[in-house]
C-alpha cells in the first residue's frame, strides 16, 4: 500500500497535477456550495419547502455536477496532456510509450477529473443532509433550511481558509471574504425570489 501511495505521489509530482487539482478543488467546491445555496434559497423563497423535493433536486444537481466535472476535466486534461507528451517526445526524439510519463499522465487525468467531480458533489450533498433529517421528522423544515445555510457558509469559510493557507495570507480574512460572496449571492436570490 505504502509502495502504491509513493508511486502515486511520484506521478502527481511528475505531472505537476497537484497545483491544478488544488485549483479545481477550490473552484468546484465553491461552485457546488453556491449552486446548493441557490437551489435551497430559491425553493425557500418560492413557497413552503418540501424536504423530499429539495433532496431530489440536490442529489440531481450533485450528480449532474459530478458527471459534468469528471467528463469535462478528463477530456480537457487528456487533450492537454497528450499534446504535452507529444511535445516532450519531439524534444527527446524518443517514444515515451514505455516510460513512467505515460502512466503518470494517465493517473493525472483521472486524479484531476475525480477532484473536479467529487468537490462540487460533496459540497452539494453536505448542504442537503439537513433536509434528510427534516424528511424523517427529526427537525423542522425551517430548521433544516437554517442548518443547511449554516453548513454552506461554513463550507465557504473553510474554502476561504484553505485559499488563505495557500496564499499565506490571514486565513480568517480570506475565509470571511469567500463567505461574503455566499452572503451576497443569498441576498440576491432572496431579493429576486420576493419580486
Amino acid at each position: 500500500m505504502e509502495k502504491y501511495l509513493e508511486k502515486f505521489r511520484f506521478y502527481l509530482r511528475l505531472t505537476g497535477v497537484s497545483a491544478i487539482s488544488r485549483r479545481y478543488f477550490v473552484m468546484n467546491a465553491f461552485d457546488g456550495a453556491l449552486t446548493a445555496l441557490g437551489v435551497i434559497i430559491g425553493a425557500w423563497t418560492s413557497g413552503p419547502v418540501q424536504p423530499r423535493t429539495l433532496i431530489g433536486a440536490g442529489l440531481g444537481v450533485s450528480l449532474a455536477m459530478g458527471i459534468s466535472g469528471f467528463s469535462g476535466t478528463y477530456f480537457v486534461e487528456r487533450a492537454e496532456r497528450l499534446r504535452k507528451l507529444e511535445e516532450l517526445e519531439h524534444s527527446l526524439l524518443m517514444d515515451l510509450h514505455h516510460s513512467v510519463h505515460v502512466k503518470a499522465q494517465r493517473t493525472a487525468m483521472i486524479w484531476a477529473a475525480l477532484v473536479n467531480a467529487l468537490s462540487p458533489s460533496l459540497a452539494a450533498v453536505t448542504a442537503i443532509v439537513p433536509f434528510v433529517f427534516a424528511h424523517y421528522g427529526l427537525i423542522s423544515k425551517n430548521e433544516a433550511v437554517i442548518i443547511s445555510l449554516m453548513l454552506i457558509f461554513s463550507l465557504l469559510f473553510m474554502i476561504g481558509v484553505y485559499l488563505g493557507k495557500i496564499s499565506r495570507e490571514r486565513v480568517i480574512i480570506s475565509g470571511i471574504r469567500i463567505m461574503v460572496v455566499g452572503i451576497i449571492t443569498a441576498a440576491l436570490i432572496m431579493l429576486l425570489g420576493n419580486m
Binding site: 511520484f10 509530482r13 511528475l14 505531472t15 516532450l88 527527446l92 514505455h98 516510460s99 513512467v100 510519463h101
Partner: protein
C-alpha cells in the same frame, strides 16, 4: 595459457551522456538508476539545460554493470542515452 580460461570482463564504471525531461528530477533519476541491478554508485552532473530538456552526465559505478539494464532504467524514466562517453572494464577475478 588457454584463452577459454580467461574470465569474461565486467564493466566497473561507465559515463553516459543522457538527455532527460525536467521531470523526473535529477535526484529521482539517480535514485532509480542506483536501484538498477549492477549499479552501486551513481553520480549525475548537469551539463546543459533547455526549454523542455536537460543534458546530464551520468557516471555509474558497480561490480558488474549491465549496460542494457541501465539503458532500460533510464528509458523507463523518460530519458535517453545519447552516447557512452567512458567505460572502465576489469577482468573478473
Amino acid at each position: 595459457m588457454d584463452d577459454s580460461l580467461v574470465p569474461s570482463p565486467t564493466i566497473k564504471r561507465v559515463v553516459l551522456d543522457v538527455l532527460k525531461p525536467h521531470q523526473p528530477t535529477i535526484p529521482e533519476l539517480a535514485s532509480r538508476i542506483v536501484s538498477c541491478n549492477g549499479a552501486n554508485r551513481v553520480n549525475v552532473s548537469l551539463a546543459e539545460i533547455d526549454q523542455n530538456t536537460e543534458s546530464i552526465k551520468v557516471q555509474v559505478e558497480g561490480s558488474d554493470i549491465n549496460l542494457e539494464t541501465i539503458r532500460n532504467c533510464i528509458e523507463e524514466m523518460g530519458a535517453t542515452i545519447h552516447s557512452v562517453d567512458e567505460v572502465e572494464v576489469a577482468r573478473k577475478v
